[in-house]
Symmetry: C2
Subunit: 600 residues, 2 copies
């Protein structure tokens, strides 16, 4: 079995960096102990080793595909995978006991999901989507809706999906036209089309529960007139039988990557007979959906970081096994070739991957921890955790997706020509990863969300909370002589973000078209700083253990590797934050070209 | 027919930026006029439109593949493509009249190749490889070798290949073991295996001429004992008949991209009956091969830039046709959606692509021009042109490959979810492009070549020549008020390169393992500066025409677009050169990790 994740890193993040034990002290999670939880994680790893990883390549080579008549063929192993995930609690694991879940905190639940994603990212989406759909129903649905749908979803029998995008609207939810008309029996008749529906229909589940955005007739224009509906493919009758609903899968999208994960085109009400069930109140659908959307964004960030981790592990293994060439200083051609890993440029590529994948994973865990504090605490802690989580969500999604792609490109590069062949997994990781910058809002949309909404909400309070967190890490780093230099560098970069925000005038009604034009550059700058914070946080702990000779959790080399990777990140990656700032501090508005011929 | 190149940009580069007319004033190219040459380029475009572009997708969907018994199946159109390219002179076009060529300068020949590559990069390699192989034979072969092989290669009947890589050696040519033993009749018996042989065997040609590196028995160890051989699949007898030679295609490599372009595994002398013909003198094979290799590196740079251009054109077209969303300042959801191209973030993505693709193409043309000066002039001009060309070769290859990939990723991003589907070409461009950073020496190898060899050769003379060229452009830019700011920025970046080189001690016997560790970062810094120079060069001409009201060659918007893209490059891309310098100026040597467990 090839290595696709670092269990040491997973343990380090949970146990030392993001302190799962503190989460277990919250009443909601008080039933858990570290030992028990780590056994669950190790069991998840065995499950992934046995049922998921071996099918990574096959699910790509034999992609999910439309059968021409409403059905979608998927890999035969998929049913086993979903069943096993369900049986082991990895669909409903995060839900409350009252809803049949294991009431696991996100730090634990998503560590298992990370392992599944790294093992085979084409299969994990099926249960992650189901989990999100169920969470949406338990949050906003009626008891009847919960009882009808959630147990079957948690059992892996029914697949949950999210249906937002329409052919004519793309990313612009304002423009969706799927319509809903109230019926006499308290339901709605739905008419419309949705595209890019992940897991939208396939052979491995018996029913599909489409959480769908639509407009009730007469609703206000724009996003304020959108409602949320449950539209099952088969309608569950009172007596437990299933009646076909008028939901037709009209085709699928063949993709460059994640080919085992089907993406479909759904038609509701082609025969004027599609029934939907309103969730919560009318016209509040988008706000509800954003619970699922925000979780999905973090999940995509996790997925991207996980695939980057798998690619890193594959390239690390290759360079440790194959000898090639000699160091530049070695001029004797008769000396035996050295292992590829000994070449400094290869170490640079490996450290870049490690810095990106492990740094992104640490930020995901930071978000999971915040999510656990939101769900498990009250008052200021709850409120502040939510604010900080909202700020970090577009960042974790975008950094992992964009830099994860770069990381996977380096994995290919590390293998040389072989990396480009179908004989090695890294090219698949590279292809799979590219969708992460598109899922659940493109990089452009995440960046506009960050700069146009998250940074300015509550007069910049979330940003202040982030700065407090970063300052806390800086203070800790300053207690160690070896880390002071890096603490100082991070301080400078935090100040530079303030300088940029002041320049752009985001808090003072600047020209919004103008400053949002460079939102993606700001996202890049901010991401470097946030990941640098995560690295300094890891290095503080590692350095402390090294200085104290405390190796009960990890080996000295493990901690040395963390300090080294932090230094590497600060020197090779964080340096580019200043370059982004320089771009942002320029006065000229270059991207408002009205004469399209200038692009020719 | 979708647009895949900008004929305006091609014309601008040839006519105004790289001044083809000056090349035509050299005796070797004096038979050419601008009008005649531009007609040839337009004919090449028609050929690409008719015979190549329509098969771009099909050649990916029905990839070249091994038939299990020595043969490789290719797309049925491939024979037509090669035949048509041959008939129109696009295989032998660059060769001298005496060898049956059109004696075209590289600026012209490679403009046509750019069009073919942008139209369908899976087919162009077949004739580009043949052209390179023929050029190698005409440069170093005997009259008999030339007469035997070159006319058939130029006619598109025989395929030329380059066979360097071996399974056990990878990029390390020092370690190749394919052996050659002299026979009584003046030939050699060859035994060995070669992998990653592009065009190594297929259905569209009758014979394959493998230019192969091997060691003559008893040769010195290392690269000083490598000789060059012609090994045809079928041996041409004196009477014109063909006898099978012991060359067996043992398999192929299925790839993530460029799937129409076969990549094979060849076995020479499995039945101890493979005959080869020595080219030139023994043990000088690597030096000879480097003629082909250097041309191939520029050709890969061109290929990468061309695919990036095709992806840019596809995304430009999409954003010009599809409305989606509204500007951030527009709060009324009832207003009609705006074209995607009107969103500032989309313009940023388009301008990034334009800056990369057109900037890289301009640098390729700079290299072609230098190559023409090497072949068409004498004395200092010839010598200096060669030096500068050698310096720029690893840069043009690497910048185009690395940034081209980033550019194609932005093309996907511009299309949103559709960009990831097989229904649109941009995902294929993205997959195809990734091989460019591996072909003919990976990015790591190119970077080591740049910093470890090219920068220091003749005590840094090539770098001095480059600085003179850049200074010339800076002086010209300083004559225009609007360009002064950018001229100054480039001056600062040029000085920063000197600062880095001094710090690394490359001219003063610094620690070679140490400074080559960061060669890829230096490559990145240097590339930004060199492409900035190409953009300033283009902007100087565009600005001059705008100020003089001279629009006989191009429209005002075209020139405005050039000036805008230059500004964009300087502000969004060149800013990262300083970040690379900061990395390079650090003292610590992080990438010499001897304890491999630190990567875990």
């Amino acid at each position: 079995m090839s290595r696709y994740t670092s269990m040491e890193h997973n343990k380090f993040l949970l146990q030392e960096v993001h302190r799962a034990n503190e989460i277990f002290s919250l009443p909601r999670y008080a039933h858990l102990t570290w030992e028990e939880v780590w056994m669950m994680i190790e069991a998840a790893k065995l499950l992934a080793d046995r049922d998921m990883a071996p099918y990574f390549k096959e699910m790509d080579a034999q992609p999910a595909h439309y059968d021409g008549n409403g059905g979608v063929k998927t890999h035969t192993q998929l049913k086993t995978i979903i069943q096993q995930a369900a049986e082991n609690g990895w669909i409903g694991g995060g839900a409350s006991f009252e809803h049949g879940g294991m009431q696991l905190p996100m730090v634990i639940y998503n560590t298992a999901q990370h392992i599944f994603m790294a093992a085979n990212n084409s299969c994990q989406g099926y249960f992650s989507l189901s989990a999100g759909a169920a969470a949406l129903i338990t949050s906003f649905g009626t008891a009847e809706q919960i009882n009808t749908f959630v147990p079957n979803i948690f059992a892996g029998k029914w697949q949950g999906t999210m249906a937002l995008t329409e052919p004519q609207a793309g990313s612009s939810l304002t423009d969706i036209t799927t319509s809903a008309k109230a019926t006499a029996d308290g339901f709605y008749t739905i008419t419309g089309q949705k595209i890019f529906i992940s897991g939208g229909q396939h052979e491995a589940c018996d029913n599909f529960i489409h959480l769908t955005l639509a407009r009730i007739e007469g609703a206000p224009a724009g996003v304020k007139g959108i409602s949320l509906f449950i539209i099952p493919k088969f309608w569950p009758e009172q007596d437990g039988t299933l009646t076909p609903n008028d939901v037709f899968c009209a085709g699928d999208f063949q993709k460059m990557g994640q080919r085992g994960y089907c993406t479909t085109h759904l038609v509701f009400g082609d025969k004027a007979n599609c029934k939907g069930w309103l969730v919560g109140e009318p016209h509040k659908g988008l706000a509800y959906m954003f619970q699922m959307m925000n979780e999905a964004r973090i999940s995509v960030g996790l997925d991207a970081a996980s695939v980057a981790m798998a690619a890193y592990q594959a390239s690390l293994q290759y360079t440790n096994e194959r000898p090639q060439g000699r160091l530049a200083s070695e001029k004797d051609p008769l000396k035996p070739a050295t292992l590829i890993i000994n070449h400094p440029d290869v170490q640079r590529m490996l450290l870049t991957q490690k810095a990106i994948a492990e740094g992104a994973l640490s930020l995901v865990m930071e978000c999971n921890r915040l999510s656990d504090l939101v769900h498990g605490s009250e008052g200021e802690t709850k409120k502040n955790s939510l604010l900080l989580l909202e700020l970090l969500t577009p960042i974790v999604k975008t950094y992992s997706a964009e830099q994860g792609s770069r990381s996977a490109a380096l994995a290919i590069q590390t293998l040389g020509g072989y990396g480009f062949t179908m004989d090695f997994p890294v090219q698949q990781h590279y292809r799979d990863l590219k969708i992460m910058s598109l899922y659940e809002g493109t990089t452009g949309i995440q960046s506009i969300d960050l700069l146009g909404r998250k940074v300015i909400m509550e007069k910049g309070k979330a940003l202040l909370l982030l700065q407090e967190e970063i300052n806390h890490t800086i203070t800790e780093a300053n207690t160690s002589t070896d880390l002071k230099k890096y603490a100082h560098q991070l301080e400078i970069e935090v100040a530079r973000i303030q300088q940029v925000l002041t320049h752009l005038g985001v808090f003072t009604q600047g020209n919004i078209d103008r400053y949002l034009a460079d939102a993606s550059v700001f996202m890049e700058q901010m991401s470097y700083v946030v990941i640098a914070w995560q690295w300094l946080k890891q290095a503080v702990i590692a350095q402390h253990n090294l200085e104290a000779g405390n190796f009960k959790n990890q080996s000295p080399s493990f901690y040395e590797g963390k300090v080294l990777t932090m230094k590497f990140f600060f020197r090779y990656e964080l340096t580019h934050a200043a370059a982004c700032a320089e771009t942002l501090l320029d006065e000229e508005f270059l991207t408002n070209v009205s004469n399209k011929k200038m692009f020719d």
